[in-house]
């Protein structure tokens, strides 16, 4: 089912019938071939496959529970939703992540392992937080947090959408990290176990099954899962091009909207990421106003995923959708912001996401839905402690930006030496790299060939543009905040090997 839907989309609208059939078919066959070559044995759960005859001789022990049911898997029905989710990962984004999991690079123990440049994770400033914790939180977790309520404060049932103290702390942090140009209101903060469920909850609230959101492409591969898997909602990519530095054009947005209408598909909103992922652009004030106008004229929503707002290393200013809405009294009802602690604050494991909405009904529904995705109370209390130290958070934000800047500069310089250019980006944990001259043929197959070489020969995991729905082949997302300074030359050397072999013959 998952494969059919994107095929339908290409055939119906963009690229015409021929391209629409050929490219997906080529992709499909190539991926099947790739999977056959690289399929690793299923890891979970470990189970010896014994013949029926031997089983009766096995002693009764825990190994019984490990046995795969002999040939009767799948006899009992699972839902269509489950079948789609259980299908082998066919996106290079996920395949790459799995490869790193299986063979992760480690300076000491596994120097030939795969280096992770495919996960937007910030490892540059964790030591600052660790330092703070070692100085300030030395007792048991019972003493942590605002109220000194002891165990009751963390163990008992709390509001599913988050403790009030934590909402206040998050609102303050968002205000600080976005440059203090707008003040966030704690009563509009809804906490979720990560930005992933925050997006899904909004998708459930704003659209019915079969409806769609317009999304500027290239976009974060995870949106396909977060917005669509269980909701039955569709994503319509609005293609951005290198000639525009991959910035969104309202004309393209309008075209996509009209095409959807012709197909009879109801568009419920626009999903933007600002700073954008994977390109790293910031949407400027004019663009944001234009988007709001566009949404108003068609009476649709805007979801602004601002999760990288504090990960700015350039000099351009970041403007939050909240700031735009602040100066426009009407129209607040259609604007919703996503935030989280996984990027700017480097704690993805803690599972903290935020839905920030100006629509009371959306807030009411979201709050009720957080019962399926709530934040662990001890973690809330821990973060309340850290975030209450305003001096620390300001220092952290500043230092983090500096470190990102220097790593970015080193990384981009390294690529430049190899003759590889990136778009000029200002934020995010990654850069958007142009390797289009190195792929052959100049299409998705060529791009995936290069991706494959980078993954299996150079042993670096990067995200190919096709996984991000980029319409131009040859672009890759390289995350650089997972690296320390020592590792950058290692990465460059590995890339060099592959690049040399890809250069067209003189």
């Amino acid at each position: 089912m998952r494969l059919i839907v994107p095929l339908q989309g290409v055939v119906q609208g963009r690229g015409g019938l021929i391209l629409g059939s050929l490219i997906p078919c080529a992709l499909f066959y190539f991926l099947q071939f790739y999977l056959k070559r690289h399929r690793s044995p299923p890891r979970n759960p470990p189970s010896p496959s014994s013949s029926a005859a031997n089983l009766s001789e096995l002693p009764r022990s825990s190994s019984r529970a490990n046995l795969t049911t002999r040939g009767s898997i799948g006899l009992v029905h699972v839902s269509a939703r489950a079948k789609a989710v259980a299908a082998p990962n066919d996106s290079p984004y996920y395949i790459g992540l799995d490869r790193v999991r299986e063979d992760p690079y480690d300076e000491m123990s596994n120097p030939d392992g795969v280096i992770q440049l495919g996960l937007a994770e910030n490892r540059l400033s964790l030591d600052l937080i660790e330092d703070w914790l070692s100085k300030n939180l030395t007792g048991s977790i019972l003493g942590v947090g605002g109220n000194g309520l002891g165990l009751s404060g963390i163990a008992t049932y709390q509001p599913m959408d988050g403790l009030m103290e934590f909402k206040v702390a998050m609102a303050d942090f968002m205000t600080e990290v976005m440059g203090r140009t707008v003040s966030f209101d704690p009563s509009r903060v809804v906490l979720t176990s990560g930005a992933t469920p925050a997006l899904e909850i909004l998708s459930f609230c704003l659209a019915d099954q079969g409806n769609a959101f317009l999304v500027p492409a290239p976009y974060y591969p995870g949106f396909d899962r977060d917005m669509r898997w269980r909701t039955g909602v569709d994503l319509i990519p609005v293609h951005c091009r290198s000639c525009d530095n991959f910035t969104l054009s309202i004309t393209a947005l309008e075209q996509s909207f009209n095409q959807a209408r012709k197909r009879g598909q109801k568009v419920r909103g626009i999903l933007i990421s600002n700073p954008s992922n994977p390109v790293g652009n910031l949407l400027n004030r004019d663009m944001l106003y234009d988007l709001l106008d566009f949404a108003r004229e068609r009476n649709i929503h805007i979801i602004s995923d601002e999760i990288f707002a504090g990960s700015k290393y350039g000099n351009e200013e970041f403007v939050s959708m909240a700031e735009i809405v602040d100066s426009e009294e009407a129209d607040k009802d259609r604007v919703h912001i996503i935030y989280g602690m996984s990027k700017d604050f480097s704690v993805p494991g803690f599972r903290v996401g935020v839905i920030y909405s100006f629509n009371e009904n959306v807030l009411a529904a979201s709050r009720k839905l957080t019962r399926f995705s709530s934040v662990s109370t001890p973690t809330q209390q821990l973060l309340v402690s850290v975030l209450s130290d305003k001096r620390f958070t300001q220092e952290y934000i500043k230092m983090n930006k500096q470190r990102m800047r220097s790593t970015y500069d080193l990384f981009v310089a390294g690529l430049k030496e190899l003759g590889i250019e990136c778009t000029k980006s200002s934020a995010g944990l990654y850069c958007w790299v142009d390797m289009s001259r190195l792929i052959s043929p100049y299409n998705e197959k060529g791009e995936l060939d290069l991706w494959d070489k980078l993954l299996n020969i150079a042993k670096i995991n990067v995200t190919p543009g096709s996984a991000c729905h980029c319409i131009e082949p040859g672009w890759f997302r390289f995350c650089f905040t997972t690296l320390n300074e020592k590792e950058i030359p290692i990465v460059m050397e590995r890339i060099r090997k592959v690049v040399e072999s890809c250069k067209p013959p003189m």
């Binding site: 979970n44 189970s47 839902s79 489950a82 490892r123 048991s140 163990a155 009476n299 494991g349 973690t379």
Partner: protein
């Protein structure tokens, strides 16, 4: 006037899920909580406030947890050493969950079952609470429009958890007081036929064992019958065993895992267990739930879907430490059972003295109280009138059987583990006085 209409027309639309009331928060079950929130009982500051007996929370063994956490701060807090592992933990967002945590959960589940069943850590899928686990399993096992059979009376939250976003139906399997509300194959068959007549496909049976709201474990023979029924119809069996550690005596609780073990795991690919630390360990705020499935495909799918509901890595680490401390867990499980048993006996005794009977229970944080003799007519309206009376006059929030879909009016679920013994005494006294007043009125009216 014209401006108002314009504004209404231009309001931006929301989804059906957002505007539906399947969340059920308008039912009496939740209305009672509101009354409590507005006027909560407090021993010193508000001795005439509403006592909350509608929340199944376990506070009887807090001291044991507190002691552990105080004495093991190095295991539970990052701050103490530089090489504390904070960095790796903070970055860990793998949906497989920490292996140490899964091992600890599997072993804790084994301990609760007295070692009578084995659990493989690789089949443990983590979720942020049992609420999420139940919803996730429903998404995986059931298509929208299809149904789950759920023995009634059942936990009111199921209406929301199993149906709201999933689009799935619940067909109640009616159980009767005449045989202690035990689940019978006849009742299962009747529910199945009801679904068929409505052209609804049944995809599974979801049982809670020990049962909420009955406060009783399910007998071995009945578990076998239920599994047999599920096998015959080729449907799934979900066993929510969230109260397994709250059975008053370890031998009285039989897990579906034991039934499977006894028959060599035949047909196990249709069986899935839900567990959580919210009841047995009294840690609902931690948001810790698990799905344990014997079906590989379900494990893989659930694991991927758990991306929407992962447990904080900090919490996983803390619990991995605590739950692998076998001395602590053995001691905790034993003492917790004893204290819950004592509370149960205290409340049954107190209610008996007030002339009220309860279903014979042996597990859980509540008892199933029979007030049907107090109803003039055996109707749902009368039950709700009585419930309102108890809420506003006696100032106790208890859960009416109708919100649990009980087919017989007059039964109520009364929680006893979320308060101190003193508070329980106050509640029992109030009930006693209430019953006295009623009997006096009756006598005076010559009835």
């Amino acid at each position: 006037m014209a401006i108002e209409i314009e504004h209404e027309l231009s309001a931006v639309g929301l989804s059906k899920v957002a505007v539906s009331d399947t969340h059920g928060e308008d039912s009496p079950y939740f209305a009672g909580w509101k009354a409590y929130d507005e006027n909560p009982y407090d021993e010193s500051c508000n001795p005439s406030g509403v006592i909350q007996m509608g929340l199944a929370e376990n506070q009887v063994s807090f001291d044991l947890l507190e002691e552990y956490l105080e004495n093991h701060s190095e295991a539970t807090n990052f701050g103490s050493t530089k090489t504390s592992g904070f960095r790796d933990n903070a970055l860990f967002q793998d949906y497989h969950g920490l292996i140490s945590f899964r091992k600890a959960m599997a072993s804790f589940m084994e301990q609760i079952r007295g070692g009578r069943a084995k659990f493989n850590p690789d089949r443990v899928v983590i979720t942020a609470g049992a609420t999420a686990a139940n919803e996730l399993l429903t998404f995986i096992l059931v298509d929208p429009g299809d149904a789950l059979l759920v023995p009634a009376p059942y936990y009111p939250g199921f209406d929301r958890d199993l149906r709201w976003r999933t689009g799935v139906n619940i067909i109640p399997v009616h159980c009767e007081s005449s045989n202690n509300f035990e689940i019978t194959t006849e009742a299962l068959e009747a529910a199945y036929k009801e679904a068929e007549s409505k052209k609804i496909r049944v995809r599974g049976v979801l049982i809670t064992n020990p049962s909420n709201p009955l406060g009783a474990t399910i007998k071995r023979s009945i578990l076998e019958d239920i599994l047999e029924f599920a096998t015959r119809k080729n449907i799934h069996l979900v066993s929510d065993e969230i109260y397994s550690g709250s059975a008053f005596s370890s031998d009285e609780f039989i897990s579906i895992a034991e039934i499977l073990e006894a028959r060599d795991y035949k047909d196990c690919e249709r069986v899935h267990i839900v567990y959580s630390l919210s009841k047995d360990l009294g840690l609902p705020g931690f948001r810790v739930g698990t799905i344990y499935s014997y079906n590989d495909k379900v494990v893989t799918t659930a694991r991927r879907m758990s991306s929407f509901t992962l447990i904080s890595s900090q919490t996983q680490q803390l619990l991995a430490s605590m739950l692998s401390d076998k001395k602590f867990t053995e001691n905790y499980i034993r003492i917790n059972r004893e204290r819950l048993k004592k509370r149960y006996e205290m409340i049954i005794d107190g209610l008996e003295k007030a002339g009220i009977q309860c279903l014979k229970g042996n597990a859980g944080l509540f008892c199933w109280m029979n007030l049907s003799p107090l109803l003039e007519e055996s109707t749902k309206q009368q039950e709700l009138e009585l419930w309102k009376l108890i809420l506003h006059e006696v100032k106790l929030n208890i859960s009416p059987g109708s919100s649990c879909h009980c087919s017989e009016p007059g039964w109520f679920r009364v929680c006893f583990a979320n308060m101190s013994e003193k508070t329980l005494e106050v509640a029992l006294r109030r009930i006693h006085d209430f019953m006295e007043r009623r009997n006096t009125v009756k006598r005076n009216n010559g009835l």
